[in-house]
């Protein structure tokens, strides 16, 4: 467990950087977690973060890559609903990295 300081308070994350308490997520937290991953959040990143949070809200599940691509396509159109688009934004592993920045649990159905 580690703590990261954000706006005068501290937030606990696990070794891989996922939030321990999912309720502590805010956009400021996302910015901070992104810095740790060396990602500067652009509008394109935020779109995906909102899609993946909506997915979790609806299905109580952090999506694997394939359903994430599908959800992005449905929400933002076929141009963005492509794995290459997500790979550019979250180069490490889109499903895991996007879930982390969105304050969701690590996806368990990943490969």
């Amino acid at each position: 467990m580690r703590h990261i300081a954000i706006e005068g308070t501290t937030i606990a994350v696990d070794d891989e950087g996922y939030l321990l308490n999912l309720d502590e997520w805010s956009e400021a937290v996302a910015v901070c977690l992104a810095e740790e991953e060396e990602i500067l959040l652009s509008e394109a990143h935020w779109e995906i973060i909102h899609v993946i949070r909506d997915f979790y809200l609806q299905y109580e599940l952090s999506p694997a890559m394939r359903p994430l691509v599908k959800a992005v396509g449905l929400a933002l159109g076929p141009q963005k609903g492509k794995s290459i688009h997500l790979m550019k934004l979250f180069p490490e592993s889109p499903a895991k990295q996007a879930a982390k920045l969105a304050g969701l649990p690590k996806p368990t159905n990943c490969l």
């Binding site: 997915f55 299905y59 599940l61 999506p63 694997a64 394939r66 359903p67 159905n109 490969l111």
Partner: protein, 120 residues
């Protein structure tokens, strides 16, 4: 090699034990692996799809919500054994997603036509 078709047969009701949740995890992972997955609900399992579930009352995750994600994982073949549904008075309009009733003969044929059959 031709892709193997997997049939998952769920037989237990949700929440009382871990079977339904662990079966769904297998379904989602196999689908994420790109395998064609069909789901069949028999015995006590049809109630898993009821949209009226409020498991927050017993501090559990909503398995119906997870089930509603199945089409997002390209799991579109969802079957319910008709007699089991009838016994539990489960009708198609009460479910979180579209499913198809099958009879016992259909089930026997489905088992024969899949390469791998896992029961839970």
């Amino acid at each position: 090699m031709q892709q193997k078709k997997i049939l998952l047969i769920l037989s237990r009701a949700p929440y009382g034990d871990a079977h339904a949740k662990e079966a769904l995890d297998v379904a989602l992972t196999a689908a994420a692996f790109g395998l064609p997955v069909s789901l069949l609900l028999t015995q006590d399992a049809p109630s898993l799809l009821l949209s009226s579930q409020q498991p927050q009352q017993i501090q559990q995750k909503n398995l119906a919500s997870i089930c509603s994600a199945l089409p997002m994982y390209d799991i579109e073949n969802i079957y319910i054994e008709a007699l089991a549904a009838q016994t539990q008075q489960v009708t198609l309009d009460q479910l979180v997603l579209p499913a198809e009733f099958v009879n016992e003969t259909d089930v026997a044929v489905m088992i024969r036509n899949h390469d791998v059959v896992l029961r839970f």
